[in-house]
């Protein structure tokens, strides 16, 4: 096979106010025809910067400071802007992460395809349109001849990504850079899109650089992989070799941190400390504050009926113990706005859901987007009104959002950890103010010294330095913010925690840390948790029981082990089959 792209000693510099920052440091990379080359790494590894440098779309002020990029023997770094612009699209093209935003919403698919084709090939409008229809068919759009005149919003996410791929291919490029092409998609759609990319690469002999943070995706379709960290190559080689028996410690740790579908781990290996952004000053302490104080305070919760998991008998045999939360025939309908002419149509987000949670149990809720996972969380937390059904919390009726007063005890007892730690914390308030709020609101501790001591202790409990309480959320990394969010939930002295995709915005290594923390807290405090995730492997690690939702309907429930080894419903089997797994590698 011919060498399509060769990158030699590429460095990218980003000048900042605090001096130059080397985002990419002497990278070497080769891609051959028809080959899929994976670039994997955590955030800040420089993967996307490499992609942007190759296609010549680095955002100012970043620039290539040294090295060469050769495409089919032609050096791209020496070209002037105009020639490079001519190559862009014709020789190299790109697929972006989010199909919702990478298509122009105001132009029809046909407009965008025909324009791109005519930009690079001399064709009449009709010829270009014919070529576009053929291409759409090739990328798997049914009824392409009719659908070509539709606008992007009329396609579903997966279909849009097919259109994006058609757009990237319509100029017949030799190289395609795919930057997280499936991250925004559901697993089943992800599977299809990956297969499409693989087939196209093979049939058309296109070289593909696949940039992703998801080891599962890498394992599934790449031929070769380069592992990156802090802008440097850690390891490079054939995918089965690198992922299956990695030489470097970092790769080994990374692989260990990936949650597996096939086995449940007690704890993940900690790769890197997430703390490099915090100054090392752990000497600053509030008098008498330590994690013991916090956990004692949480355990001595007068309202709590939970018992530490250690004292519990096996879940399957503890049917006699009363449920913490009982949900019966729950339905949630989002009403479209009532209008004078339009019919009142409702969207049924949840339909007839029933389940029980025992004290100290972790219920994993899985499903694809639109399955109603988050709606369920909001219904329990009292954030959306319920259209039908009932909930009981600790034996008493739990009113829905419309009826649950701000002072209702369940508002304190049920706490929530949200998905995105960047938007769930108020950047204008110090961590201390954020954490003290629930103490004050629920009257859980006296103002001043006792509150302060609790805040500091709680931070220690979530493995943050006590000094963090003086800072603002934006000074912390994503993982640290999620720790603060967990601490905030715990400050209310809850019995019941709802975690809605708590790690899906985080890197693998950070995810491992947060999952470890949650496991630890659950074990020591005996918390009851509803753990929501689209990632089956993560649920596998966390949950005692699993519930699968689809389009608002209950599909299946079962104990963790039973579900993952032998799922009953067809849909569950399909979900498990389609989740990217590392099995391929392990058998090698």
């Amino acid at each position: 096979m011919d060498k399509l792209l060769s990158v030699n000693n590429l460095s990218v510099m980003i000048p900042t106010r605090f001096g130059d920052f080397l985002a990419v440091d002497s990278i070497n990379l080769d891609v051959k025809e028809g080959q899929i080359h994976g670039l994997v790494g955590e955030s800040g590894a420089g993967k996307s910067t490499i992609g942007a440098a190759i296609i010549g779309l680095l955002e100012t002020p970043a620039f290539v400071s040294s090295g060469t990029i050769k495409l089919l023997g032609q050096s791209l770094t020496e070209l002037d802007n105009q020639t490079l612009e001519g190559l862009r699209g014709r020789r190299i093209s790109m697929i972006f992460q989010d199909p919702q935003t990478s298509l122009n919403p105001l132009l029809s698919i046909s407009d965008q395809l025909v324009e791109t084709i005519r930009q690079h090939r001399s064709m009449s409008r009709d010829e270009a349109r014919k070529a576009a229809i053929e291409l759409l068919e090739e990328t798997g759009i049914n009824n392409a001849a009719q659908r070509i005149d539709d606008y992007p919003h009329q396609f579903s996410g997966g279909m849009r990504q097919r259109v994006v791929i058609a757009l990237a291919l319509c100029t017949e490029p030799a190289l395609i850079i795919a930057d997280e092409p499936t991250t925004a998609l559901d697993v089943s759609v992800q599977k299809q899109i990956l297969k499409l990319i693989r087939d196209l690469a093979k049939q058309r002999g296109v070289g593909v650089i696949l940039i992703t943070h998801d080891i599962g995706v890498i394992a599934e379709i790449t031929d070769e992989v380069t592992v990156l960290r802090y802008g440097r190559v850690v390891e490079h080689g054939k995918t089965p070799k690198v992922l299956g028996s990695p030489d470097e410690t970092y790769t080994q740790q990374l692989m260990a941190a990936v949650p597996r579908l096939d086995k449940r781990l007690d704890r993940f290996v900690n790769i890197a400390s997430d703390d490099h952004r915090i100054d090392g000053n752990t000497a600053w302490q509030v008098k008498g504050a330590n994690d013991q104080h916090a956990s004692q305070w949480l355990l001595n919760n007068p309202t709590s009926q939970s018992v530490p998991a250690a004292d519990q008998t096996e879940l399957s045999t503890s049917d006699s113990s009363t449920s913490v939360l009982q949900v019966q025939n729950l339905s949630v309908t989002y009403d479209a706005k009532r209008s004078w002419f339009g019919k009142k149509t409702g969207f049924q987000a949840l339909n007839d859901i029933s389940f029980d949670i025992k004290p100290g149990e972790v219920l994993g809720v899985v499903g694809e987007s639109g399955s109603g996972k988050s709606t369920l969380a909001k219904a329990i937390a009292g954030l959306v009104p319920v259209s039908q059904g009932a909930m009981w919390f600790n034996g008493t009726n739990l009113p829905d959002a419309a009826q649950r007063a701000r002072t209702h005890p369940a508002r304190r007892q049920i706490q929530m950890v949200f998905q995105d730690p960047y938007s769930s914390l108020n950047n204008r308030r110090t961590v201390e103010a954020i954490l003290t709020e629930s103490l004050r609101f629920y009257g859980l501790a006296d103002k001043g010294a006792p509150s302060r001591k609790l805040v500091a202790s709680m931070l220690e409990l979530v493995e943050m330095p006590q000094r963090a309480m003086l800072k603002y959320p934006h000074q912390f990394s994503g993982g640290q913010r999620q720790r603060i969010a967990i601490a905030r939930a715990l400050m209310a002295r809850p019995d019941f925690l709802i975690c809605d995709e708590p790690t899906s915005a985080l890197d693998v290594s950070i995810q491992a840390q947060i999952l470890n923390l949650l496991k630890e807290l659950q074990k020591n405090l005996g918390l009851t948790i509803v753990f929501i995730s689209h990632n089956l492997a993560v649920v596998r690690q966390m949950a005692d029981t699993v519930m699968v939702l689809r389009n608002g309907e209950h599909v299946e429930s079962g104990l963790n082990e039973d579900f993952f080894t032998n799922p009953a419903a067809d849909y569950s089997q399909q979900l498990l089959r389609e989740s990217p797994s590392l099995e391929l590698l392990l058998t090698d």
Binding site: R88, G89, I92, M94, T101, E115, Q119, H153, F341, G342
Partner: protein, 324 residues
């Protein structure tokens, strides 16, 4: 789409009814209409007769209904001040204001939109910065100062352009237009410029910030990655997306110019509706004021409807009734 338009039309009817109610209240309860109509020597019995014949003794609801139906049929009543039918007064003044508004809108669009695009694409460039600073001065000076300033330079010092009135007009039916004579255009230039400067700055800054946002979106990056040429990226892909929010503001601005070009009209003694409104206030000519109020509201409603329809033309998501 049809449902959307009819819904908007129905909402408009309610808006108009509410405004009519305010206008009616103004007309009926601010001072006694009969007392303002008649002289000192009219006897109480005569006053009572007038009151009766005008229907002022009917129940309030009946009066409101007849007020509204009069408005709908175009029977606007008479001015206290000039004794002319209000419809005639307004019709004779309207063309002047609308022509002034259109020309100033054109000035603001023809200069503001390209300047906005230029300053967005050449961010931090010398020319772009000069444009930004200059227009900042334009927006910080009150309209009447700009007007007087322009009069001073072009009217007094240079003597190129007339400083007041409409100049020569051509009458087509009831519509008197400035557009068909050179003198008409010369008279129009200074007031239109005065009105246009402020809008121009707003339009430009809005286009600039919207365009900068659009240029950062993924679909623009993707278009660049596909090798689409710059011209098409800027004017086909980016500008269209820029115009969606810009149109709303331009529509409202146009309404504002027509309704409230009072200052400019009085500086240039432009015989438009603004000047009429000013005179009505000065002489407490309440019927004219209340009709004016209703007409201005109607105009805003119509402009908003047009803006909504333009949305549908530009944005397929509105056209096909997307739910997202």
């Amino acid at each position: 789409m049809l449902a959307f338009i009819s819904r908007r039309l129905l909402q408009s009817v309610f808006v108009m009814l509410a405004v009519s109610l305010i206008a009616f209240t103004l007309f009926r309860f601010v001072g006694d209409p009969v007392a303002q109509m008649v002289g000192q020597e009219t006897s109480v019995a005569d006053q009572e007769r007038i009151r009766d014949s005008l229907g002022l003794n009917d129940p309030i609801t009946t009066q409101f209904v007849s007020f509204v139906s009069d408005l709908i049929t175009g029977n606007f009543g008479f001015s206290y001040r000039t004794r002319q039918p209000i419809s005639e007064m307004i019709l004779s003044r309207m063309p002047a204001t609308i022509e002034l508004g259109i020309v100033s809108l054109l000035i603001s669009l023809l200069i503001g939109v390209p300047a906005g695009i230029y300053t967005a694409l050449h961010r931090g460039g010398a020319i772009a910065n000069t444009i930004l600073v200059t227009t900042l001065i334009g927006i910080s000076i009150p309209t009447f100062v700009i007007g007087i300033f322009l009069i001073f330079i072009f009217g007094v010092q240079l003597g190129w352009l007339p400083t007041f009135g409409r100049g020569d007009v051509v009458t087509i039916g009831w519509w008197q237009t400035n557009f068909l004579t050179i003198d008409g255009w010369r008279s129009l230039l200074l007031p239109a410029l005065t009105l246009g400067v402020y809008q121009l700055t707003l339009t430009m800054r809005l286009v600039r910030s919207e365009m900068q946002d659009v240029m950062k979106t993924d679909f623009i990056k993707f278009a660049r990655a596909r090798g689409i040429n710059r011209h098409s990226i800027h004017y086909n892909h980016a500008l269209r997306n820029t115009m969606v929010p810009v149109i709303t503001i331009i529509g409202l601005q146009f309404g504002g110019v027509i309704a409230f070009s009072i200052v400019t009209e009085s500086v240039f003694q432009w015989p438009g509706m603004g000047l009429l409104f000013l005179d009505s206030i000065r002489y407490v000519d309440i019927p004219v004021m209340s009709v004016y109020l209703v007409l201005i509201a109607l105009m805003f409603v119509v402009i908003n409807l047009i803006v909504d329809l333009l949305y549908a033309v530009i944005d397929p998501r509105v056209r096909t009734g997307a739910t997202h």
